[in-house]
Symmetry: C2
Subunit: 450 residues, 2 copies
Amino acid sequence: MNEWNMNEILDQILPFIEEKNARATLEILATLHNADIAELFPELDLEYQLFILSILENEDSAAVLLELDEEYRRRLLKNLSSKQIAEEVIQELESDDAADVISELSDSKKQEVISEILDEEHAKDIVDLLRYDENTAGGIMSKELVKVNHNKSVLGAIRSMRRQAEEMEEVYSIYVVDDNDKLLGTLSLKSLLTTSSNTKIADVYNPRFNAVTVTDLAEDVAIDIQKYDLFEMPVLDERGRLVGHITVDDVLDVMRDEAEKDYQMASGISVDVDMQDNLWTKTKARLPWLFIGVVGSLVSSRILDGNLGAMEKIPMLILFIPLIAATAGNMGVQSSAIVVQSLAGGTMKGSLWENLGKEIGMGLISGLALSVLLFAFSYTMYGDFLAGVTISISLFSVVIVAAIVGTTIPIFLDKRGIDPAIATGPFITTSNDVIGISIYFLVARLFLGI
Amino acid sequence: MNEWNMNEILDQILPFIEEKNARATLEILATLHNADIAELFPELDLEYQLFILSILENEDSAAVLLELDEEYRRRLLKNLSSKQIAEEVIQELESDDAADVISELSDSKKQEVISEILDEEHAKDIVDLLRYDENTAGGIMSKELVKVNHNKSVLGAIRSMRRQAEEMEEVYSIYVVDDNDKLLGTLSLKSLLTTSSNTKIADVYNPRFNAVTVTDLAEDVAIDIQKYDLFEMPVLDERGRLVGHITVDDVLDVMRDEAEKDYQMASGISVDVDMQDNLWTKTKARLPWLFIGVVGSLVSSRILDGNLGAMEKIPMLILFIPLIAATAGNMGVQSSAIVVQSLAGGTMKGSLWENLGKEIGMGLISGLALSVLLFAFSYTMYGDFLAGVTISISLFSVVIVAAIVGTTIPIFLDKRGIDPAIATGPFITTSNDVIGISIYFLVARLFLGI
């Protein structure tokens, strides 16, 4: 494992940075990966961050910038001229990363930077990529790839690979196209190395391939790449021509973002935050959900207010309010989480009714088990048979309803094109609290005649 | 996108399968990826599943088996002899996948299958891999890789690559080792293709590389591969010798499993389930958490019981029990989710105290905002100034304490080597419910003198 101790490195490097000793600073930085250097930045003043960028090779400073969190990158780019950004950053990045960086700039600076890019091909690729929504295949693909015409020989393919691959860090497969750039198949470097050099490409390429279209959703591409164990996926335009490709590392980012987003939504956090974020970012991401919870609970308080008379007659009812609310919430969160995860993983099958049937089955078993437990406890504790039966029946009904609500809402949202993840977490617990408490008193009034 | 409609395919293929028409069945299967064929299996009777496996080429039936969910694979393997498993399945898989399949067999069958493997090298690799824990680098690495001695020429490297790569689906980089198999660096196929054939490997390989040790945790390897944008990672034994490598697709599985596990834990689901699982699997995964919630709520009911007198005097206190419990739960889930995610993503920095400080800061702001809202509502609604102030102060205290509990417990568990994800979801909501209600009545008694 590439173990490194950030604090140790900071202790060593800070004195050199403070005295602007470029040579000594670089000597330490040379032992670090660019992703590690990026991790030092949040610990440094802006002035020192700019110093490090200025002494690194352009290639490295561009890579460090790319690894930074958006807020740090944005601050640094504000301190660079459009010409500097174009020459020292954009020129050094592959088209997809370059487009990502440019898309974060203000509209006026965006134009300035693009006009300062000297490599016209690169500028054209970037402008092309900026057209696509960031959640589509077009938005995450890169334009740099190696393609050869199917009429070439293996030797010809190796030659054109050398030329095309000059600017690419790594090549994993070669795309085979016809005269109109229509994708015909792929060719692995392994087969290039193991085939005699005058063989025609048309005779050796693999005609079976998966491909996506620029407008396909990035998360669907991620599911496919994972399902079919691919390292890369070619991207075609609407007319079937090869326009870019997506590599598995791009997909790792999509997957992580998706998983984090779903997880955070389920926990009542609306945007990507972590422990390093400042108070304001965290509060903005969390307070609205707490607020929803409080407002929902104020609705519950009104329902309780309407049932104060019943509680006065049978005070035992008060004792199980938290139990009803908590169980409704827990059950609803479980049901919705399974739906959301099945939708995200592409493993959702069957109709709403089938899935609902299964969930209700699960609700019947769990509801029965928990109700029996509750009855045993309450009857032992308070000896009131009728009240015990009543609250147990309440719990049973609440569990079933919570399962139905938890399953239906995310499926419904998904069908409407809304991200079902918003239906997990505080939203579902809060609504199930309200529903649960309503059912509780409805059943109590019915059975106990109050 | 590789669109395929499972129901359509089933309609076409089922009649052929039922009449055991191998040719017509194969014709349809030929249009599908093995991962798609695997998705058909849950819809078919065991007899038909076995029929499909028997008519597919060994290579394909092994791949289909690998893609299946464990329960389906297990059932099918029970119907194959040890000899069949060894020859038709294990022989066709790379060592890491083969070891995964074998590890699911009973101990006696495991031995039988291994002894039936004809390729001794393959058998040795598998036995080697079975030694490692499945959560370590050794447990997810494969032994198939291409390595060359640094003293060889480029031509010699290409020759040994051809020989070693025969059994491998794809080769992405070549590992350069010394006479003792110690890893010196890597060589990309791209550079092999672009270097003259008599150059010595020692002159062209890249000596900078990341590597992990067999005992490193799989999830840490996943973090590194992602952080450094790698396609593969060499795995060394305790003495620094190259023993295997991990490719990014292995890591995708680890990442997905981790993300799903954390998400499900946060939702109160203890093992991997999805909508397709049967009632019993789902119930087993979910009921224990619901049970924890109910038991916690029974504790709450005892606390409420002890405060019935106070509620009799000031019935308004009853109305905000759900609010206190819900807000404590929501706040605790948010805090713990951020900790768990920072730990999982390797972005956790600073001491417990620093992180706690930030969380308390966030609690102060949120607590204040929510308390003001609650006071405004309760005073407007019920006109009791002192009671309004009291419940608002309660809410404020509860929010702070919930933030502290939510942050501390997962950090503490992680330090003890326990998966902090168990501290999210029902566990944290339930304990915060109990703590919240206790604080609520403590503050009420203090301020209202009851």
